[in-house]
Symmetry: C2
Protein backbone atom coordinates (compact mmCIF):
# COMPACT_ATOMS: atom_id res chain seq x y z
CA UNK A 1 0.00 0.00 0.00
CA UNK A 2 1.40 3.41 -0.95
CA UNK A 3 2.04 5.87 1.87
CA UNK A 4 0.79 8.95 0.03
CA UNK A 5 -2.39 9.99 1.81
CA UNK A 6 -5.17 12.46 1.13
CA UNK A 7 -3.57 14.80 3.62
CA UNK A 8 -0.35 14.77 1.59
CA UNK A 9 -2.26 15.48 -1.60
CA UNK A 10 -3.86 18.42 0.15
CA UNK A 11 -0.50 19.87 1.09
CA UNK A 12 0.63 19.42 -2.49
CA UNK A 13 -2.50 21.27 -3.57
CA UNK A 14 -1.30 24.12 -1.37
CA UNK A 15 2.00 24.28 -3.22
CA UNK A 16 0.38 24.32 -6.64
CA UNK A 17 -1.60 27.38 -5.52
CA UNK A 18 1.64 29.36 -5.33
CA UNK A 19 2.14 31.19 -8.65
CA UNK A 20 5.91 30.70 -8.53
CA UNK A 21 5.64 26.97 -7.98
CA UNK A 22 2.90 26.63 -10.59
CA UNK A 23 5.05 28.58 -13.05
CA UNK A 24 7.99 26.24 -12.53
CA UNK A 25 5.85 23.12 -12.86
CA UNK A 26 4.05 24.35 -15.98
CA UNK A 27 7.30 25.37 -17.65
CA UNK A 28 8.89 22.03 -16.85
CA UNK A 29 5.89 20.09 -18.19
CA UNK A 30 5.68 22.12 -21.41
CA UNK A 31 9.42 22.01 -22.09
CA UNK A 32 9.41 18.24 -21.64
CA UNK A 33 6.58 18.09 -24.18
CA UNK A 34 8.40 20.29 -26.69
CA UNK A 35 11.64 18.37 -26.19
CA UNK A 36 9.84 15.13 -27.06
CA UNK A 37 8.26 16.70 -30.16
CA UNK A 38 11.62 18.02 -31.42
CA UNK A 39 13.53 14.79 -30.75
CA UNK A 40 12.44 13.15 -34.07
CA UNK A 41 14.20 15.90 -36.04
CA UNK A 42 17.25 15.71 -33.75
CA UNK A 43 17.02 19.20 -32.28
CA UNK A 44 17.08 20.35 -28.68
CA UNK A 45 14.80 23.18 -27.61
CA UNK A 46 17.75 25.55 -27.33
CA UNK A 47 19.01 24.57 -30.78
CA UNK A 48 15.62 25.07 -32.42
CA UNK A 49 15.40 28.46 -30.74
CA UNK A 50 18.75 29.51 -32.18
CA UNK A 51 17.70 28.42 -35.67
CA UNK A 52 14.50 30.47 -35.38
CA UNK A 53 16.44 33.51 -34.28
CA UNK A 54 18.78 33.20 -37.28
CA UNK A 55 16.06 33.10 -39.92
CA UNK A 56 16.47 35.94 -42.40
CA UNK A 57 19.55 37.24 -40.54
CA UNK A 58 23.07 37.17 -41.90
CA UNK A 59 24.93 39.35 -39.40
CA UNK A 60 24.20 37.99 -35.90
CA UNK A 61 27.28 37.05 -33.91
CA UNK A 62 27.54 34.44 -31.19
CA UNK A 63 27.38 37.20 -28.60
CA UNK A 64 24.27 38.70 -30.21
CA UNK A 65 22.51 35.35 -30.04
CA UNK A 66 23.47 34.90 -26.42
CA UNK A 67 22.14 38.33 -25.49
CA UNK A 68 18.85 37.78 -27.33
CA UNK A 69 18.21 34.36 -25.85
CA UNK A 70 19.62 35.01 -22.37
CA UNK A 71 22.37 32.44 -22.82
CA UNK A 72 25.79 33.19 -21.30
CA UNK A 73 28.48 33.99 -23.86
CA UNK A 74 30.59 31.12 -22.56
CA UNK A 75 27.83 28.62 -23.21
CA UNK A 76 27.42 29.48 -26.87
CA UNK A 77 30.48 27.70 -28.38
CA UNK A 78 29.38 24.12 -27.60
CA UNK A 79 25.82 24.90 -28.73
CA UNK A 80 26.98 26.43 -32.02
CA UNK A 81 29.56 23.70 -32.55
CA UNK A 82 26.86 21.05 -32.47
CA UNK A 83 24.80 23.00 -35.01
CA UNK A 84 27.88 23.52 -37.17
CA UNK A 85 28.89 19.85 -36.96
CA UNK A 86 25.37 18.97 -38.07
CA UNK A 87 25.81 21.28 -41.05
CA UNK A 88 22.92 23.54 -40.03
CA UNK A 89 24.92 26.76 -39.59
CA UNK A 90 28.20 28.20 -40.80
CA UNK A 91 30.38 31.13 -39.78
CA UNK A 92 31.10 34.16 -41.91
CA UNK A 93 33.83 36.62 -40.83
CA UNK A 94 32.60 40.17 -40.20
CA UNK A 95 36.03 41.52 -39.31
CA UNK A 96 39.18 40.02 -37.79
CA UNK A 97 37.42 39.59 -34.43
CA UNK A 98 33.74 38.88 -35.07
CA UNK A 99 31.96 36.33 -37.17
CA UNK A 100 28.34 36.12 -38.24
CA UNK A 101 26.41 32.89 -37.65
CA UNK A 102 24.22 32.08 -40.63
CA UNK A 103 21.91 29.27 -41.65
CA UNK A 104 23.00 26.81 -44.33
CA UNK A 105 20.54 25.33 -46.82
CA UNK A 106 20.31 22.30 -44.54
CA UNK A 107 19.72 24.65 -41.63
CA UNK A 108 16.83 26.34 -43.40
CA UNK A 109 15.35 22.96 -44.25
CA UNK A 110 15.61 21.77 -40.64
CA UNK A 111 14.20 25.07 -39.44
CA UNK A 112 11.11 24.60 -41.61
CA UNK A 113 10.45 21.29 -39.87
CA UNK A 114 11.10 22.87 -36.48
CA UNK A 115 8.66 25.71 -37.27
CA UNK A 116 5.93 23.20 -38.09
CA UNK A 117 6.51 21.30 -34.85
CA UNK A 118 6.72 24.39 -32.65
CA UNK A 119 3.62 26.02 -34.11
CA UNK A 120 1.65 22.82 -33.50
CA UNK A 121 3.09 22.77 -29.99
CA UNK A 122 2.11 26.39 -29.31
CA UNK A 123 -1.39 25.65 -30.55
CA UNK A 124 -1.55 22.62 -28.26
CA UNK A 125 -0.32 24.64 -25.29
CA UNK A 126 -2.93 27.35 -25.74
CA UNK A 127 -5.66 24.76 -26.25
CA UNK A 128 -4.95 23.45 -22.75
CA UNK A 129 -5.82 26.82 -21.21
CA UNK A 130 -9.56 27.37 -20.60
CA UNK A 131 -11.11 30.14 -22.68
CA UNK A 132 -11.51 32.97 -20.14
CA UNK A 133 -7.84 32.74 -19.16
CA UNK A 134 -6.19 32.15 -22.53
CA UNK A 135 -5.84 35.69 -23.85
CA UNK A 136 -4.27 36.86 -20.58
CA UNK A 137 -1.53 34.23 -20.54
CA UNK A 138 1.05 35.74 -22.90
CA UNK A 139 0.80 39.31 -21.55
CA UNK A 140 1.22 38.03 -18.00
CA UNK A 141 4.32 36.01 -18.91
CA UNK A 142 5.84 38.90 -20.81
CA UNK A 143 5.39 41.17 -17.80
CA UNK A 144 7.55 38.76 -15.76
CA UNK A 145 10.42 38.75 -18.24
CA UNK A 146 10.64 42.49 -18.76
Amino acid sequence: MPHLTEAASFVNADLIDLPGYALRRASHAMMAELKARLAPIDLRVSEATVLMLLEGQDHLTSSDIGKSLDIQRANMPPLLSRLEDAGLIRRRPLDKKSQAIILTAAGRSRLAKARKITSEFEEHLLSLIPEPHREHFLPALQALTA
Copy 2:
Protein backbone atom coordinates in the same frame (compact mmCIF):
# COMPACT_ATOMS: atom_id res chain seq x y z
CA MET B 1 30.05 49.03 -32.00
CA PRO B 2 27.78 46.10 -31.14
CA HIS B 3 26.44 44.02 -34.00
CA LEU B 4 22.93 43.60 -32.58
CA THR B 5 20.65 45.58 -34.86
CA GLU B 6 17.02 46.67 -34.73
CA ALA B 7 16.20 43.88 -37.15
CA ALA B 8 17.63 41.34 -34.71
CA SER B 9 15.62 42.82 -31.87
CA PHE B 10 12.51 42.49 -33.98
CA VAL B 11 13.16 38.82 -34.58
CA ASN B 12 13.65 38.36 -30.86
CA ALA B 13 10.32 40.10 -30.30
CA ASP B 14 8.80 37.42 -32.52
CA LEU B 15 10.16 34.70 -30.29
CA ILE B 16 8.85 36.30 -27.12
CA ASP B 17 5.38 36.27 -28.67
CA LEU B 18 5.42 32.47 -28.59
CA PRO B 19 3.67 31.32 -25.39
CA GLY B 20 6.05 28.37 -24.96
CA TYR B 21 9.14 30.54 -25.27
CA ALA B 22 7.66 33.23 -23.02
CA LEU B 23 6.80 30.56 -20.46
CA ARG B 24 10.37 29.28 -20.40
CA ARG B 25 11.86 32.76 -20.11
CA ALA B 26 9.48 33.86 -17.37
CA SER B 27 10.07 30.69 -15.37
CA HIS B 28 13.82 31.06 -15.71
CA ALA B 29 13.73 34.71 -14.63
CA MET B 30 11.49 34.07 -11.64
CA MET B 31 13.42 31.01 -10.45
CA ALA B 32 16.67 32.96 -10.60
CA GLU B 33 15.00 35.63 -8.46
CA LEU B 34 13.73 33.10 -5.91
CA LYS B 35 17.10 31.35 -5.82
CA ALA B 36 18.79 34.64 -4.95
CA ARG B 37 16.24 35.38 -2.23
CA LEU B 38 16.67 31.94 -0.64
CA ALA B 39 20.48 31.98 -0.79
CA PRO B 40 20.87 34.00 2.45
CA ILE B 41 19.20 31.21 4.44
CA ASP B 42 21.24 28.56 2.61
CA LEU B 43 18.36 26.82 0.85
CA ARG B 44 17.90 25.91 -2.79
CA VAL B 45 14.48 26.25 -4.37
CA SER B 46 14.05 22.47 -4.44
CA GLU B 47 15.07 22.18 -0.80
CA ALA B 48 12.67 24.90 0.34
CA THR B 49 9.91 23.17 -1.61
CA VAL B 50 10.56 19.88 0.18
CA LEU B 51 10.47 21.60 3.58
CA MET B 52 7.14 23.20 2.70
CA LEU B 53 5.72 19.86 1.63
CA LEU B 54 6.79 18.27 4.92
CA GLU B 55 5.11 20.81 7.19
CA GLY B 56 2.59 19.12 9.46
CA GLN B 57 3.33 15.71 7.92
CA ASP B 58 5.02 12.86 9.73
CA HIS B 59 4.50 9.96 7.35
CA LEU B 60 5.74 11.05 3.90
CA THR B 61 8.41 8.81 2.42
CA SER B 62 11.13 9.76 -0.04
CA SER B 63 9.05 8.24 -2.82
CA ASP B 64 5.96 10.19 -1.76
CA ILE B 65 7.89 13.45 -1.89
CA GLY B 66 9.27 12.63 -5.32
CA LYS B 67 5.82 11.85 -6.67
CA SER B 68 4.33 15.05 -5.25
CA LEU B 69 7.09 17.30 -6.53
CA ASP B 70 7.74 15.52 -9.83
CA ILE B 71 11.27 14.58 -8.83
CA GLN B 72 12.62 11.19 -9.92
CA ARG B 73 13.02 8.68 -7.09
CA ALA B 74 16.72 8.32 -7.89
CA ASN B 75 17.29 12.04 -7.41
CA MET B 76 15.84 12.17 -3.92
CA PRO B 77 18.73 10.64 -1.87
CA PRO B 78 21.26 13.43 -2.52
CA LEU B 79 18.60 16.10 -1.94
CA LEU B 80 17.46 14.55 1.34
CA SER B 81 21.03 13.85 2.44
CA ARG B 82 21.88 17.53 2.19
CA LEU B 83 18.83 18.42 4.28
CA GLU B 84 19.69 15.69 6.79
CA ASP B 85 23.33 16.77 7.00
CA ALA B 86 22.09 20.30 7.70
CA GLY B 87 19.97 18.91 10.53
CA LEU B 88 16.70 20.06 8.95
CA ILE B 89 15.08 16.65 8.54
CA ARG B 90 15.41 13.19 10.06
CA ARG B 91 14.19 9.73 9.10
CA ARG B 92 11.71 7.66 11.08
CA PRO B 93 11.19 3.98 10.15
CA LEU B 94 7.65 3.13 9.08
CA ASP B 95 8.41 -0.55 8.55
CA LYS B 96 11.49 -2.55 7.62
CA LYS B 97 11.48 -1.04 4.11
CA SER B 98 10.04 2.48 4.29
CA GLN B 99 10.98 5.48 6.35
CA ALA B 100 9.13 8.72 6.92
CA ILE B 101 10.93 12.01 6.33
CA ILE B 102 10.09 14.50 9.06
CA LEU B 103 11.12 18.01 9.98
CA THR B 104 13.40 18.58 12.96
CA ALA B 105 13.02 21.62 15.20
CA ALA B 106 15.79 23.26 13.16
CA GLY B 107 13.89 22.31 10.01
CA ARG B 108 10.70 23.99 11.26
CA SER B 109 12.69 27.08 12.17
CA ARG B 110 14.33 27.24 8.73
CA LEU B 111 10.97 26.60 7.10
CA ALA B 112 9.48 29.61 8.87
CA LYS B 113 12.18 31.80 7.32
CA ALA B 114 11.63 30.18 3.94
CA ARG B 115 7.87 30.79 4.17
CA LYS B 116 8.47 34.48 4.81
CA ILE B 117 10.81 34.76 1.83
CA THR B 118 8.60 32.80 -0.54
CA SER B 119 5.42 34.67 0.37
CA GLU B 120 7.19 37.97 -0.25
CA PHE B 121 8.45 36.54 -3.52
CA GLU B 122 4.98 35.41 -4.59
CA GLU B 123 3.64 38.85 -3.79
CA HIS B 124 6.42 40.42 -5.85
CA LEU B 125 5.73 38.09 -8.76
CA LEU B 126 2.04 38.90 -8.85
CA SER B 127 2.75 42.61 -8.53
CA LEU B 128 4.69 42.45 -11.81
CA ILE B 129 1.60 41.28 -13.69
CA PRO B 130 -0.72 44.11 -14.81
CA GLU B 131 -4.14 44.14 -13.20
CA PRO B 132 -6.38 42.80 -15.96
CA HIS B 133 -4.19 39.72 -16.42
CA ARG B 134 -3.27 38.89 -12.84
CA GLU B 135 -6.25 36.83 -11.75
CA HIS B 136 -6.00 34.63 -14.86
CA PHE B 137 -2.38 33.70 -14.33
CA LEU B 138 -2.62 30.89 -11.79
CA PRO B 139 -5.59 29.12 -13.41
CA ALA B 140 -3.82 29.20 -16.76
CA LEU B 141 -0.63 27.70 -15.29
CA GLN B 142 -2.54 25.02 -13.42
CA ALA B 143 -4.28 23.99 -16.63
CA LEU B 144 -0.87 23.28 -18.18
CA THR B 145 0.31 21.04 -15.35
CA ALA B 146 -2.80 18.88 -15.09
